[in-house]
Amino acid sequence: MASSRSRVGLFVTCLADMFRPEVAFASVKLLEMAGFDVEVPERQTCCGQPAFNSGDRHDSAAIARQTIEAFDGFEYVVGPSGSCIGMLHHYPELFAEGDPWHQRALDLKSRAFEITSFLAQHLDTDKLSSSFSGKVTYHDSCSGLRELGIKRQPRELLSKIPGVQICEMEESETCCGFGGTFCVKYPDISNRMVGNKSENIRATGADTLLAGDLGCLLNMAGKLKREGVNVQARHVVEILADMANTPAIGEAAIGEAEKRS
């Protein structure tokens, strides 16, 4: 619990910014609930992962420097993505030891947290209240799971919401096939992976799919919709912040569903 209100810089992530602003708003709401002052630094863009994973270290380093500067002075940097926060944790690898940026990157790393792990530590979970009710299944996104050790935190938080019933899927820890540029560089393989995932999701009988990373969610939701599977995909913070009253990812606006054939 934050005693004197400390400042958190929200790392919005480019996908939340572009596709799902509610995820960022939900994050703000939850962080404020945990007693933090939340600010959104203007100079942030993307974490740089597309460049980093394509071997473009020069541009990755440029973006890293920009992000480091944007979040200077915040006690914490929190983002709704294990993958993007994981990328922030890679920044020190981009600079030689002895380069002042290396030290600054290490410093950012020590302050950067994925949202559910951060809330699990800082939020008085009795404050959580959500009108959401339904059977949900949870996909463990790879970077969050393996780089940041996020597995029990979102489940612990969800367990505080009376209406939530978690039905675990088979292979919840297996990659959904998104992988950033992977899904467009190797579309056939990616399709097989997300197809397997969709089967496992369907088999649970859950009506809602939750995860902590929008990349994976867009991929899985896109597949579920294409296959005509009636499962709603949402970022976990939407449930935690009681903001699940908007259409789920890739769903028609409320009231529009009947109109399409």
């Binding site: 919005v12 480019c14 910014d17 572009m18 596709f19 602003p21 708003f25 959104v40 100079r43 942030q44 863009t45 993307c46 460049a51 980093f52 994973n53 394509s54 071997g55 473009d56 270290r57 541009d59 440029a62 973006i63 920009q66 790879c142 970077s143 799971l145 393996r146 297996t174 990659c175 096939g177 992988g179 950033g180 540029t181 992977f182 899904c183 467009v184 560089k185 190797y186 579309p187 056939d188 393989i189 990616s190 399709n191 097989r192 992976m193 997300v194 397997n196 939701a221 896109g222 597949k223 919709k225 294409r226 990812i249 890739g250 769903e251 028609a252 606006a253 529009e256 109109k259 399409r260």
Partner: protein
Amino acid sequence: MQIKSPEFKQNARIALEDVNLQRALGNLKAGFPQKRAAAVARLPEFDQLRDEARDLKNHILEHLDLYLEEFEKNVVANGGTVHWCRTAEDARKTILEICQDQDAKTVTKGKSMVTEEIDLNDYLEKNGVTPVETDLGEYILQLREDHPSHIIAPAIHLNIEDVADAFHEHHKRPKSNDPAHLMREAREMLRKHFVAADVGITGANFLVAETGSTIICTNEGNGDLTQTLPKTHIVVSSIEKVVPTLEDMTLFLRLLARSATGQEFTVYNTLSSGPRRPGDQDGPENFHVVLVDNGRSDMVGSEFQEMLRCIRCSACMNHCPVYGAVGGHSYGWVYPGPMGSVLTPQMVGIENAGLLPNASTFCGKCEEVCPVRIPLPKLMRHWRDKEYEKHLSPTSVRSGLSVWSFFATRPKLYRLFASVGNRFLRLKAGKKGRTSKLPLASAWTDHRDMPAPSGKTFMQQWKEQNR
């Protein structure tokens, strides 16, 4: 072996549509991962052993020359000979010379990926020496003129009908689809080869410097018959397999079987130290160790040094969702899966194998299970760095990236760009909330819908709310 790694994408597409292959790959997914998990759960010290194994391998690699020297000294003291081979060609020639010295007509072979790497079989055959694979999986592949698709389960890509057909054709016996029957048939057929062979070739899982011993770990016992019955035993091993002492070898043995098949221990772990001793009634009269470098010494001290810790357990490919989808042959060379995606560019050149280190989502499962904690995703990324530096990555990727980076490093422009994109996607989707076709994004929309943004960008809305 012909390098088909440049065709990885086509190979993968064909593999994904190959119903029989997909059925066979199902056996892998259902087997190894669960068995490994059960074995690991029974040994509480497993993760600590992994740490020790990583550290020990690092120590060995820092002193690789000296341990190899000690190993050679002790092989010679045991009455054996060590041959040093820089390249695959050196190794092929050396092995052929030993065979020719013995006037060898046939050689039996235990399972060895290094001999696949140096393409030994073809070479021996062209030079009048007939190699006979004796590992059941390798034997099946040899009959089918096929190659391993997995480093410990070489015939994992085949179904029983394929085996039955191959046996029927070559053994001229009535066809059977019963695995027990097929194995009995192979056992019977191979007996005569074991006895008739002039030379037996095996690989090595480890080389023990202290004693000058080589060790093989097998479940079938074929490696033992291969090395005990012929007059000459040749061990073909790569240089990074050396370990200091029997105690150090033991550390790796505790990890190997559990990581590989999920067994507590491999059935036969056999140490060979030189030729038969005076008074021995059986065993080979000549003992040769062929040490193969083939690019490994260049990895020492490089960003890829950690790959030399690999003990060839196959856990990384057994758990890899990409390997599980496309199988080993798609990778187009000897070593498949995550370990292959790091090793292959080293051995055949990044210009030929660039698609392999890119064919990963970096999900990290391989690193999670690797017994010697090789950071496989990091090493694959290093190859992507090299590829990018050498301007080998496709132009579409490079130009796409530079446009994107241009915006990503200019926050104001980026905001503008994001809001235009956001608007476009929303318009395109109309009221459906998603779109099933997008210009320039068919790789995505061929297989899945593209969810539309749910409103203006967060940054726009945040600003509008004046916060």
